[in-house]
């Protein structure tokens, strides 16, 4: 096989001592960047990009992509320990990861998160290695209607998930949509709901909202019961890694399914965030006891993490083969390619074989390096929970403020973060579900945009969403999922009446 030969050649490039060192540096930096909310993979890589100017392109991209892997790993850490998602795609990890930490199972949750991240990435890399050209062609089929269909499916997977009042779920989700719509309307270029304020032009950034809604509100909630965090007493050592690993094979099917969802979402390219939500939603629907999700199920960590990492990795494929970034981080890497004198797109695989295969080989090695680094550090991360509350609370507030500021370099965002913190506190206590709000906030504007682009293309004909088997199929799947509760109910009624009829 030609691919294997090229891959081996790639390994020989990536395994040069200098490149190995860059890999390690990249992973460590990436974990750090992923841990600090706001300073995400995209920002981190953008910041370090000029430093790579003097390196050969292969070394530069190895280091930068390792920062990317590190950031993907790192995003899970704060989500699990403090309920603060360091990256948008780790929001879904908080749903079960944080309850696990509260129950003193932080080490288990972290190990599961890291390991499943690795599995997700590995599946995606294998996919990239062997079927890249086929997949690239698939991505071309995605126009606005198909994109909308994928978004619709993400929502459909998630709706009906929360336990509480349906009215509150609707209210929370609509609030998310509204917040996403504030600022400039990308389709017409008009300012919406800014009410004349210059600060509102920016709109509400997803991360600022999430840092407040999840992180700050959690601090407020946890001090009601005294000035401490739950779960701080847990003893954690490296054995927890082995114990968790022993349990992992039981979830092999879940991991495989999540990895496939992730790869598909990364290539389309919808990205890691919807992938993580969709995978979590599907895992919950398929579970025998869906109501246990959100209370510390390990499946609730494995599903989103596997999908997010698979999507994050496969998002690099459309970037390399088509020049479309599948994620904000990929967008920055794309800029890097151009800077190093490489042209992303179909010709890259033909003309720059060394570069492409060096990068793919570094995906294998970088992920292994990343997994080792973060696993060894699990006890340290978990030990953070033992720092006295007054210190850790002040540090979290500081890190959150810095994170909110760095998202778009605005002091007003720190104020917004605090407001969202209070809103989150009130909503949590009144059982308004936060997950639909966050989902709507993160996908809302892209969904609306794809919907309107589609209608522009079809001149107002809604039939465009069913104009071919691809978007029609995805839409049909979405509608089925949406109506599933109604269908099961109907089946129950029918079965019941049938049974009665037979008895009569």
């Amino acid at each position: 096989m030609e691919e294997l030969g090229l891959l081996m050649q790639g390994f020989s490039v990536a395994l040069q001592p200098g490149n190995m060192l860059l890999m390690l540096v990249g992973v460590v930096l990436g974990v750090l960047i992923g841990v600090l909310p706001g300073l995400g993979g995209a920002n981190g890589i953008a910041i370090l990009l000029p430093l790579t100017f003097a390196m050969p392109p292969v070394s530069a991209v190895i280091m930068l992509s390792c920062i990317y892997w590190g950031a993907l790993f790192g995003g899970a850490i704060t989500s699990i320990l403090f309920n603060i998602p360091g990256e948008p795609w780790s929001v879904a990890t908080t749903f079960d990861g944080y309850p696990m930490a509260q129950q003193g199972r932080a080490g288990e949750a972290l190990t599961a998160a890291f390991t499943s991240s690795f599995i997700g990435a590995f599946v995606a890399v294998v996919l990239i290695t062997f079927v890249a050209p086929v997949i690239a062609g698939f991505a071309l089929r995605f126009g606005p209607p198909e994109f909308f269909a994928v978004m619709f499916l993400s929502f459909a997977c998630f709706v009906g998930m929360s336990r509480g009042s349906p009215l509150k779920t609707i209210a929370a989700m609509m609030l998310g949509f509204l917040l996403a719509a504030v600022g400039m309307d990308t389709v017409t270029g008009q300012l919406r709901m800014t009410f004349g304020s210059e600060e509102m032009i920016r709109g509400f950034d997803f991360l600022v909202a999430v840092i407040g809604l999840f992180g700050i509100s959690e601090i407020l909630c946890s001090i009601e019961d005294g000035l401490r965090f739950k779960g701080q007493r847990a003893k954690i050592d490296l054995k927890v890694v082995l114990r968790t690993w022993a349990e992992m094979p039981r979830h092999a099917f879940l991991a495989a399914r999540s990895a496939l969802i992730g790869c598909w979402m990364g290539i389309t390219p919808a990205g890691a965030t919807p992938a993580s939500f969709m995978s979590y939603g599907v895992a919950r629907r398929m579970a025998k006891d869906p109501n246990e999700f959100g209370r510390g199920r390990i499946e609730g960590v494995i599903a989103p993490e596997t999908a997010a990492h698979a999507a994050g990795t496969s998002a690099l494929l459309p970037m390399l083969t088509l020049g479309v970034p599948g994620s904000p981080t990929a967008a920055v890497l794309l800029g890097g390619l151009i800077m190093w004198g490489l042209q992303p797109g179909p010709m890259l695989f033909v003309e720059q074989k060394d570069f492409v295969w060096g990068l793919i080989a570094s995906m294998y090695l970088g992920n292994i390096a990343g997994l080792l680094v973060v696993l060894v550090a699990v006890p340290w991360f978990a030990a953070i929970l033992r720092v006295p509350f007054p210190i850790i609370a002040a540090l979290i507030l500081t890190v959150c403020a810095i994170g909110a500021y760095t998202v778009s370099n605005a002091e007003f965002d720190i104020v917004l973060m605090l407001v969202f913190g209070i809103v989150g506190y009130v909503m949590k206590k009144l059982d308004y579900p936060l997950a639909p709000l966050v989902l709507a906030l993160v996908l809302g504007d892209r969904t609306e945009e794809a919907f309107r682009q589609s209608l522009l293309l079809s001149e107002g004909n809604l039939g465009i969403f069913f104009h071919n088997w691809l978007s029609g199929g995805i839409m049909a799947l979405g509608v089925t999922l949406l109506l599933w509760p109604a269908l099961t109910w109907l089946r129950g009624v029918l079965a019941g009446s049938f049974g009665r009829a037979r008895a009569a």
Binding site: A46, L51, L191, P325, I338, M339, M347, L456, L457
Partner: protein
């Protein structure tokens, strides 16, 4: 990605003068003068990964690699409201000599389209770094081989033209084409230039007006075909990009009977109220950036128009371009309702 608009005919001479002035400023600064005393903020009124962002980071990289400035340069993205956020920040930093802004056409289009209280005169123009070209692209397997064929088809059936952003350079060009030919085009806004190019390759839109750098790889792989460039003259690069064509083989739109030209500004500005010696420092700095091999490579890769201007010539150019944007946007109904 962005682009800039201008009529080149009348500026050719002032360009040369500008370049001479620039070189002179460079040497004067090298001898002695003001220097930054703290880190310089470089504001990008656009998101990470776009054309302006790339250019800002290339400049940052070149400056640190060649040690052109003692203080570090910090790139800050302020993309909100099509860049309005970044411009308002610079407007509010009156007299701050440690702030630069890189601009694209949204320098004109954003205030005109949104009514945000900002004008380029709220800033101090430093230098024009380059101008970005635009070309009309169609799918390689489409039946249209020349601009007249394309226009004729557009008159028969409403064709869809994809572009970046709303009421910005791409839509202005689209409107200008419709105005010049009477052919209606449906403009579909997308988020980034790369995405637009792929939508065209995938056949979801009929044409685009991508910058060369955004579409070149698809041209070379045989998926796209350029019909014309929106410049007053052909592109200079004669190296073969495909088996049969070089950049210089693409006709200008005017040659093809489509009287539209547009180039996008890649310029450097400072806040208002800064001292002349401070402006002179950055003029000199940017002149030295443009002499580096890395910069030249970027210019060649993106088939940029390497016109540079400073001082009065740059101001005149800006005044003309603003008027031109206003009149096109007024005629095509893209101005913000007053």
């Amino acid at each position: 990605m962005g682009m800039d608009l201008m009529t080149l005919r009348s500026t050719r001479r002032s360009v040369l003068m500008g370049m001479a002035a620039c070189a002179a400023a460079g040497t004067a600064q090298a001898q002695r003068g003001w220097e930054p005393m703290r880190p310089v903020q470089f504001i990008v009124p656009a998101g990470t990964g776009g054309g302006a962002d790339q250019m800002a980071r290339v400049i940052q990289g070149i400056i640190s690699k060649h040690g052109l400035m003692k203080q570090p340069m910090v790139v800050v993205n302020k993309a909100g409201g099509a860049g309005a956020e970044g411009f308002l920040e610079a407007k509010g930093a009156r007299g701050n000599p440690h702030m630069l802004v890189i601009t694209l056409s949204n320098l004109f289009t954003t205030p005109l389209a949104t009514g945000v209280p900002f004008n380029w005169k709220d800033l101090t123009p430093v230098t024009m770094m380059a101008l970005d070209e635009f070309a009309l692209w169609v799918k390689a397997d489409s039946p249209w081989r020349s601009v007249p064929e394309f226009i004729a088809a557009a008159k028969e059936q409403k064709l869809k033209l994809g572009g970046t952003g709303s009421k910005q350079e791409d839509q202005i060009i689209a409107s200008a084409i419709s105005r010049a030919t009477g052919a209606p085009l449906t403009y579909i806004p997308f988020r980034g230039g790369g995405e637009v190019a792929v939508q065209l390759v995938g056949g979801h839109v009929d044409a685009t007006v991508n910058n060369p750098i955004e579409a070149v790889t698809h041209w070379r792989s045989g998926a796209l075909r350029p019909l014309c460039v929106f410049d007053g003259k052909r592109l200079p690069d004669t190296g073969k990009m495909t088996e049969t064509m070089a950049w210089s083989d693409i006709p200008t739109c005017r040659e093809q009977g489509l009287d539209v030209d547009y180039l996008m500004l890649r310029g450097i500005f400072m806040p208002a109220g800064v001292k002349p010696e401070q402006v002179a420092f950055y003029e000199g700095l940017m002149a030295r950036v443009r002499e580096t091999p890395e910069w030249k490579e970027l210019m060649q890769q993106g088939a940029f128009n390497t016109t540079t201007l400073t001082g009065e010539a740059f101001r005149d150019w800006l005044t003309r371009e603003e008027d031109r944007h206003r009149s096109i946007m007024q005629e095509t109904g893209l101005l913000a309702p007053q």
